[in-house]
């Protein structure tokens, strides 16, 4: 049933044997064992979690990927899939005792099917490349995570990535029509939205690599909207901005995006990219509307009026793509920009019901003052997705711990308000320990049933998403001695 109950052999010799077998099924140069080169893969976008992978492989086809997974099964070694490594929750953190499957050599756009409004791509194609392949035809791929120039569609599928425009258009899961996957035991299976029965496609998207490896993705293409209006509104306070958001949504308007930044985030963006937002703003709001020209014109006039009535002291409407980019520049640079005003920072990702935003922001303010830790707030205001940037000086003793405390307390606030510990960055290794704050043991055990159906041996990206996963076949509540997954180094116990 499982290889993890007994003593695990020392990884070295097993990996050496596995590496030789892998080299036999992969093209020359597609198996990396050189320690210096392995080190370049030691982390993803969450850089404070690091592990040098045992082996890195670069398959070029589905067949090669399946062969890699089967060899991993043969030797009982875990594997982790990685796209561009831009993830922010450590979902692609490698295993020192396992194989890192990098999809960067699977990056062909296989088919653009305009009449059927879809494209078929390999997992290593970047998010933006899909749109670029169809832009000339007036089409695009809707989900737009801020890393879209480099992040891969395979990674987007694993994380169910969103982006600023998911308020209107939804997430990766709403735009994937079919997947070809390699299951954790090495079978190649197609999950299709048109299949009858359980929506395994929907369950696979967002499973963070724990149910297998994506090798081919069929995505939905949308028509580029006829009109796009981008509005920048400056407010004296975040409360006024929050009121405007509520009034816009309450007015029956579904903007493509509503983004908000507070004074500290604006200060950082100004320092980094000189985005020239209105001086003296306590908050700026970016409201983007798109759709048929007639409808968009009506709706944007309405949104403008609402912003004024909510106290906006300056309003700018982008006259064209260049001005739109200028408005978005500050927002897009915000995460990196805080590096200009703080030596170190934590990017947090949590969700609250939109109407709870004002109260939660006030609570974050209080936490910040209490612990002497500054917090810059950047958020997808339309769907209550907060991205607090918790700033600290890593040279100051105890500051990192205080920042960590504030960051964790912010997640508690999200859960207390009926929200989520992650809206788009994923659970990964970073938040596995927070899962019990949001879910009961029964909830997590039930999710584990799905995991066990796909991956009974626990080889596909183990240690991610779930705190201390149960072994498949283990009876809940009965545990004696050390957990075998912990003992073998496959899981951490929190």
């Amino acid at each position: 049933m499982t290889d993890t109950t007994g003593a695990t052999p020392a990884p070295g010799p097993v990996l050496d044997r596995a590496a030789r077998r892998l080299a036999a099924v992969l093209p020359p140069g597609a198996v990396i064992t050189d320690p210096v080169r392995l080190r370049t893969y030691e982390c993803d976008g969450l850089t404070h979690h690091r592990a040098v992978p045992g082996i890195v492989v670069l398959p070029e086809t589905t067949g090669q990927t399946a062969a890699v997974v089967r060899i991993c099964n043969e030797y009982g070694v875990p594997f982790v899939a990685r796209g561009a490594g831009t993830g922010l929750s450590g979902g692609a953190l490698p295993r020192t005792d396992g194989v890192l499957v990098v999809t960067s050599r699977m990056r062909r756009v296989l088919e653009v099917d305009l009449p059927n409004r879809r494209a078929v791509v390999e997992p290593g194609v970047t998010n933006l490349e899909i749109t670029e392949a169809v832009r000339a035809h007036g089409r695009y791929y809707a989900p737009d995570p801020s890393s879209r120039q480099v992040c891969t569609i395979g990674g987007n599928v694993a994380e169910n990535s969103g982006g600023a425009h998911c308020l209107k258009y939804g997430f990766t899961v709403n735009h994937v029509l079919a997947l070809e996957i390699v299951t954790p035991d090495g079978d190649v299976v197609t999950l299709d939205a048109d299949d009858p029965g359980y929506d395994l496609l929907g369950a696979f998207v967002g499973s963070e690599g724990t149910l297998g490896i994506t090798t081919r993705v069929t995505v939905r293409l949308l028509r580029a909207p006829e009109a796009v209006t981008t509005l920048l509104a400056a407010f004296e306070s975040i409360e006024q901005g929050g009121r405007a958001v509520s009034a816009i949504i309450g007015g029956g308007i579904v903007p493509a995006a509503i983004e908000m930044m507070d004074a500290l985030a604006i200060e950082a963006a100004e320092a980094a990219v000189d985005c020239a937002y209105p001086a003296g703003a306590g908050a700026v709001l970016i409201v983007e509307l798109d759709g048929p020209a007639a409808e968009t014109a009506l709706r944007s006039a309405e949104a403008e009026r609402i912003c004024r009535e909510s106290g906006a002291f300056e309003l700018r409407t982008a006259a064209g793509p260049a001005e739109r980019d200028a408005i978005w520049k500050g927002r897009r640079s915000a995460f990196a920009a805080v590096g200009r005003i703080s030596p170190a920072y934590i990017v947090q990702d949590g969700v609250v019901p939109r109407t709870a935003l004002p109260g939660v922001l006030a609570d974050i303010d209080r936490l910040s003052a209490e612990h002497g830790i500054r917090v810059a707030n950047v958020f997808h205001a339309g769907d209550g997705n907060l991205h607090p940037l918790v700033l600290f000086d890593d040279r100051e003793p105890g500051a990192a711990e205080r920042a960590e405390t504030v960051s964790g307390r912010i997640l508690d606030l999200c859960v207390e308000h009926g929200g989520s510990i992650t809206g788009e960055h994923g659970v990964g290794v970073d938040k596995a320990r927070y899962m019990p704050r949001m879910f009961t043991d029964d909830d997590l055990d039930t999710m584990q049933l799905l995991r066990c159906a796909f991956d009974p041996r626990g080889l596909s990206n183990p240690g991610k998403v779930f705190p201390t996963p149960r072994l498949c076949g283990e009876v809940p509540g009965v545990r004696r001695g050390a957990h075998p997954l912990v003992e073998s180094g496959r899981a951490e116990q929190f």
Partner: protein, 440 residues
């Protein structure tokens, strides 16, 4: 019970007829209302022994624990409007009705989110939401359907083109598993990637994984205006040969790609030779102008008629919903819709075809009197024609003497994985066993 028992021998302690009073007492001990089943309670022809009407999630869990201890098989039901759909369960002791689970738990109108108990009637929910100027954009046919039933059968209506289907609007779910475990996933915020999305798994599960007791949905503001543009096309014999006319697929492709952004493009057709009606819905503040703007996209079929009311057939599943209805679902890539319709016409049967043309998800109703060999030839003939297009034909409902002649699904690559999921969620095969497909 006439249905064969699947999944190996039944466990020790299974109640024979002599144990029925003890089982009944145990079921009553859960606090749920229990009655003997009647003729109207049959599930695809299989009669349960009892019907339970629990009043809350905890009573559902208690019922499932009793079923687990006595090895009783259970089938959940909502409004009971689709009990004749799907395959007969391998066994069915208890029908668990959710109609008393009919409370709207939370309507956070400012958040555009609603949490409801699964037995809430779709119409009742729509009424409450409409009072706040909002809607659940799942225009499933009316007539007593419940939220839980809509999820379990993955039902969707015309506006799937714009808003997606139930799985796209569901943001949180509470389920009771076969062993009585109560589990939740998702929550009440739209943006949420914490943990596996069990809601997706239960959408379309036909009660085979557990019982849905609560659901949370994202809502949309109700459109201030709606307009429909209707175009009539001649039958399939005239489409798109060099001298022919633009067929429905080209029309739908043009509409779906147009900047007028229709929310739905539907088709209604009496096969094999009737005229085809194509109707597009426009919603929003400029709906009327957009409905008129598509008139030059109608490919020479006249300007189209713009109305403020939907045609009478809009959103209704053809076939009428009688227990002996013969209903199939035909899916193809949208650009191949003409060829799919021709595949239906080629069989010569008087079928009613209706559904989403722009998504090419169509219901096909055959007359109840259709003979077994004719039915089998229809299914295999249409499948042979649509398979090369990447299409599929699924039998949703058919009397047993027809259903037994065909594989209701045709080949599904993910079926072995689905069976592994079923084995994990319901190892004792007590939840609607076999109702969805063999082994599920």
């Amino acid at each position: 019970m006439g249905a064969p028992h699947g999944g190996g021998p039944r466990g020790a302690g299974a109640p024979g007829a002599a144990d029925a009073p003890a089982a009944l007492e145990a079921l009553r001990g859960t606090g749920a209302e229990i009655r003997d089943a009647g003729p109207g309670d049959a599930v695809a022809g299989v009669s349960p022994r009892w019907v339970a009407l629990p009043g809350d999630t905890e009573q559902v869990a208690a019922l499932m624990r009793v079923c687990a201890s006595l090895d009783l098989a259970a089938v959940p039901t909502g409004g009971g409007t689709r009990l004749h759909w799907g395959r007969p369960p391998e066994r069915c002791d208890l029908l668990v009705g959710t109609r008393r689970l009919n409370r709207i738990l939370e309507h956070a109108s400012g958040d555009l989110v609603v949490r409801v108990q699964a037995g809430t009637a779709v119409e009742d929910l729509a009424g409450v939401l409409a009072a706040a100027g909002q809607e659940l954009a799942l225009d499933v046919p009316s007539g007593g359907r419940t939220v839980g039933g809509v999820l379990a059968t993955a039902a969707a209506g015309p506006r799937r083109l714009r808003y997606g289907t139930a799985r796209d609007l569901l943001i949180g779910i509470t389920v009771v598993l076969a062993d009585g475990t109560v589990a939740r996933s998702g929550g009440k915020v739209v943006k949420n990637v914490a943990g596996y999305d069990l809601g997706k798994l239960f959408t379309g599960s036909y009660g085979t994984l557990g019982i849905i007791t609560e659901a949370a949905f994202r809502l949309h503001p109700a459109a201030p205006a709606r307009c429909w543009t209707t175009v009539r096309l001649p039958g399939p014999e005239s489409w798109a040969d060099p001298a022919g006319v633009v067929g429905p697929a080209a029309l739908a492709t043009a509409l779906a790609a147009s900047q007028t952004e229709p929310s739905a493009v539907e088709l209604d057709w009496s096969a094999p030779s009737g005229a085809v009606t194509v109707c597009a819905l426009f919603e929003g503040p400029a709906a009327d102008g957009r409905a008129r703007a598509v008139q030059d996209l109608t490919g020479g079929h006249g300007p189209g008629e713009v109305t403020g009311e939907a045609p009478s057939w809009w959103g209704a599943i053809p076939g009428g919903g009688a227990p002996d209805e013969v209903l199939l679902e035909l899916r193809v890539p949208p650009a191949s819709a003409d060829r799919a319709l021709r595949a239906v016409a080629a069989r010569g049967l008087p079928a009613r075809v209706r559904g989403s043309l722009a998504s090419a998800v169509l219901h096909v109703a055959l007359p109840a009197r259709t003979g077994g060999p004719e039915f089998a030839a229809f299914v295999s003939g249409v499948r042979d024609d649509v398979r090369p297009l990447g299409g599929r034909l699924t039998v949703l409902a058919a009397p047993r003497e027809l259903a037994r002649r065909v594989d209701p699904w045709g080949p599904v690559g993910a079926l072995p994985l689905m069976r592994r999921v079923k084995e994990r969620f319901d190892p004792g095969r007590r939840m609607s066993p076999g109702r969805l497909a063999e082994g599920l």
